[in-house]
């Protein structure tokens, strides 16, 4: 992933005029959206690994509550992902489709 990070860095430098420290607000918001898209699976993985701790207590958890927990996380992930993608799409809509793709590529 390191390479991708470097490329992002490179791209950032290309996109922004040299010497500008702050991004335009649009670009900034879009980049934070991309960050949230990156973080979401990590969050999901952590939440789904929580059940590992239940066994440690020794008592055990009831299957129904386990099911509810897992499916709640699942639903939450789907809603969050859909929301992020909705925002991303809306943000990209102003641009031509091709340009949108390449701009999006640059993030």
């Amino acid at each position: 992933m390191n390479d991708a990070g470097q490329s992002d860095q490179l791209d950032r430098e290309i996109e922004e005029p040299v010497g500008s420290v702050f991004l335009q607000k649009q670009t900034y918001r879009r980049r934070r959206l991309a960050d949230s898209a990156r973080v979401l699976p990590v969050l999901g993985l952590l939440l789904w690994m929580v059940p590992l701790l239940w066994g440690a207590s020794g008592k055990g958890q009831s299957a129904s509550s386990a099911l509810i927990y897992i499916f709640a996380v699942w639903g939450g992930l789907v809603v969050c992902a859909a929301f992020i993608i909705l925002l991303l799409n809306r943000r990209d809509q102003g641009r031509a489709p091709d340009e949108g793709a390449s701009r999006e590529a640059g993030q």
Partner: protein
Amino acid sequence: MSTLNLLIAISLGYVLLLFAVAFVAERAARQGRGSWLRAPIVYTLSLSIYCTAWTFYGAVGSAARSGLEYLTIYLGPTLVMIGWWWILRKLVRIGRSQHITSIADLLSSRYGKSNLLGIGVTILAVIGTTPYIALQLQSVTLSVEVFAVGAEETGPTQPLTAFWVATGLAVFTVIFGTRNLDVNERHHGVVMAIAVEAVVKLAALLAVGIFVVWGLSGGIGQTLERIDNSDLGLWQIDGGRWVGLTMLSAAAFLCLPRMFQVLVVENDNDAQLRTAAWAFPLYLLLMSLFIVPIAVVGLDILPEGSNPDLFVLTVPLSQGRDGLALFSFLGGLSSATSMVIVAAIALSTMVSNHVVMPIWLRVRQGMASQSGDVRHVVILSRRLSIGGVVLLGYLYYALSGGGEALATIGLVSFVGLAQVLPAMLGGIFWRGATRVGALAGLTVGFAVWHFTLFLPSFGEDMIIPAKVFESGFLGLSWLKPQALFGIEGLDPLMHAVLWSLSLNTVTFFAASLLSFPSPLERLQGAQFVNVRYAPGSARSWSGGVAEAEDLMVMAQRILGATEAQELFAQEAQRQGLGGHLPDPTPDFLESLERELSGSVGAATAHAMVGQIVGGMAVSVQDLMAVADETAQMMEYSARLEAQQGELTRTARQLRQANDKLTRLSVQKDGFLSQISHELRTPMTSIRAFSEILRDNTGMSEVDQIKYASIIHDEAVRLTRLLDDLLDLSVLENGQVNLNLNDTTLAELLDRSLASAMADGSGRAMTIVRTKAREKMSLHTDADRLTQVFINLIANARKYCDADTPRLEIRVSEIQGRHVVDFVDNGSGIAPEAQDVIFEKFARVSDQKAGGAGLGLAISREIMTRLGGEITYLPGQGGAAFRVVLPRPMALAAQ
């Protein structure tokens, strides 16, 4: 009409519907009305082939046996989809930009278009997928049997059912999977049919689930209560398996050939992926929502010992809901068929592109440029491959007897195919990954998987003897298939996952670090890793060699005549050329290769273009484009250094030339004053003595004679000087007439010595000669050569400053030419003077000015005219001149 017959009728009707859907979709796509076929929702639904019959039926069975563990199979893919920004976004973009046709093609293309790698992945995929296809056939057979038991028809229908299902699937796949040799390898008909099947299986499972929850259990609350009171009531999950299976299913989701086919190959635009990223997890959620309730209710109401894998069918049947059961059966059939169809397409593409086509190309070497449509060869090989793959699945099913061994095979396949993951992820994220690394990693992972999981999955004593399980391979205790390196007590599956993937990754990494990639590999690597930033491609073809016409012939065979002509005409127009044939520029060759690779795979396309173009060259510029900044700086400074070296050399040469010119100029000035002096001295004395003779009339006769002879001598000296100058001028202008005659060297030397020594003014000098060697005959101008010898001998006499002067005259033969060296024992000529002594007016020393400094210049001119040469020979302990005698032949020609 019995249930079974009804079942068959409904199944046939359903299959016909699928044919119709696929047909309509294909036609719409061909007529350009197929934008709805690329709708993101269709793409999302096509991903549902991840949920095979194994998950449709087997998830309930798995839940009944081991509780919530079945969820992991869905959690992994959900995480991959939710994390689309990390991997999938890049993967589909690479797939589109490089025209990737399969996962084997991806690796082959990434690692320098290596076909070996393509073959390796293909074999792995076939071995990993065949049992899976068998599993689908088994599930359909079992489900049919459920209905058959209800009716009277019993008997050995199992293999027969499987056979007809397999045949039907093969026919469908052949018809819609190889309909066209699409440039982008997209199959709209198949994808559409699969989307329909996805809806059917989801609806069927949901229907059964709703019936169980609200129809049988009386609502959500009561269902949850029922779950808690059942055998599955407690959370009892092996933590290792929970984590391991989640990871494994995530890996398999990316690596399964059929998933790669729908995820990457059939992908058309980013919007599809964006929708699928949240919609597919939702689909998975819905698919797994009612699994536990169905399992619990099934365990509750069905008799002890019923197969939990079939609860989805048997629960509605036991309640007399035949319609629901039939719907559920269709759902299972959909799951099985869609998986087999896509898997067969994916595998046949791999087999045809990486095994059949390379062999065909090799057998018919050099025929790539011949006319004739090659598409039928590709399509035929695809069709045969599809038949072969499905047949393999059927044979596996028939031979394994469809027993319990198949139940675990799904996960076994997952682990096998997940071996591709390190090479794949390394390939798209790490430029340092090399072909050698990928091959080594895959080989190690494949071998470990075979030994620890695949072969043992047949059971003890089936392939691996029980003794090996007990005491290890070859009696080595650290080579037990299920306890490698002595680590006991692990779950066999997790054991295999752990060891195969970790050894695979470590080997891949280490071998990549130690090996060095080929130029093409590095280019491809850079393009894959930086896919979004470098839309340009590796310019690997050296243009101009290929004949545009040959390329056209070949392209027509693969792309079809119309498409190829259109492509060529477009390129010609882009290049600003009239007519149909563009110039085969490297750019064009590259784009053509990519178009072709969409049909026959990167390695084959590369080979075909290679057959016509001949040489493949990665130019320095290409590599420079890929190399990072440091390398560019180094190259730049290297170039500067080279330029600087060149300049330094030129400057040194110029300085030498300048020095020489300066010296010559000084000499010329010196000579002018010298010649004025030389002319003036005799003139002065002539004038003075003639004035004396004129003015003093009473002079004695003796004095008169004395003065007159002085005047005469001085006039002779003047004449000699003028003669010399004239002589040199004549020689230089090439106006000399040579008087050729036969003589011997000894004779010439004798004459020269006699003449040079006759002048008594010089000191006595010892002459050393080797007379025996001098007896060679010459055909030359004897007088002129003698003049040279006299000059050299006289110089030696004049300038040799030794106490006992000695001149050695050596005759020898060097490189077929006779040379005469005149070596004295004086102090020789100073190095700085050596290159000017042959110039006109050159004098070695001023104090012994015996002549005008024209002797050696004249000698050199003479030797040049005679076809020989005269040089100064340094390092002989004194002044040494080498006279290279003329070649006899050259003389004869003159």
